[in-house]
Symmetry: C2
Subunit: 164 residues, 2 copies
């Protein structure tokens, strides 16, 4: 394919890097899994549900165009479409027509969705605190934020596919 990308001697990770990487992967997987499981058990919501509902309530209007929602949450439109269909079937959100654009649709949170998120949020936040922030010093919290921002910035940067 594009073997210009893979030099004969790849830049392998140092021991430190490899260790950091493996422990990061393990932590991230475990953490998301556990958070999702507890959220599901406590409040019958998935993390994806939670993210959508929180985002909708953060908006003053409580309604948003679908693709705009997708962009704001960094989701693919297809994922958003499938997920909103499931959420609508459960009564957490509702679709509304968009008078200005015949193709478009608004998504609005329903009273049931509102109730669900209000009930879920305190427990979820408490859980995040116990699982994550109780384990970290303020410096480590800051470092986590910085590192995450750096990586995100790197991801947004265009990939140099062949730098001389």
């Amino acid at each position: 394919m594009n073997d210009i990308d893979t030099p004969a001697e790849p830049r392998w990770l140092s021991d430190t890097e490899q260790h950091a990487w493996r422990v990061f992967l393990r932590m991230q997987g475990q953490l998301i899994t556990r958070l999702g499981r507890e959220l599901q058990a406590d409040s019958d919501l998935s993390i994806a549900d939670y993210d959508v509902l929180v985002h909708l309530t953060d908006l003053a209007g409580g309604r948003r165009r679908i693709l705009e929602l997708a962009r704001e949450l960094d989701w693919e439109k297809s994922r958003m479409s499938h997920h909103l269909a499931r959420m609508a079937k459960r009564g957490l959100i509702a679709r509304e027509e968009c008078p200005a654009d015949g193709r478009g649709a608004f998504i609005a949170i329903t009273p049931a969705g509102q109730a669900a998120i209000e009930e879920a949020a305190p427990r979820h936040v408490e859980l995040v605190r116990r699982m994550v922030f109780d384990a970290l010093t303020p410096e480590q919290v800051a470092a986590l934020g910085t590192v995450s921002e750096q990586i995100l910035k790197q991801l947004d940067a265009p990939q140099p596919s062949c730098e001389g």
Copy 2:
């Protein structure tokens, strides 16, 4: 359910914590998605496939009991079972009977699996380096490792369900 867990005044996150948390979630989601996509496109492997194959090659014997593999990778046994079935169908691994335990089975990497992982690894590592480590200073790498370890340790610790 268990409202002893949710005091009337939950300990909400501070602005700093909330920011760190949101950016971490976003980073982690984007990163895994992107890594998975590129690995799939380059080498026709999912991250899960990759993890299993790397783990098997790390072992001198190249074979492992199923649940042991699951424990070492922190997977649920059901997930492991489903995933191994799919990998076996693609010829990446093979099941072998266990003479010592009639119920059990060994999983062994096949030559095809070996070839797949050897071809995938350099590109994948290069990608991880570009997406993650190129963006971080050595101190930040260390911090990432430490933070991840702290959180993992917290996750392994028994959850205090009602501390007075």
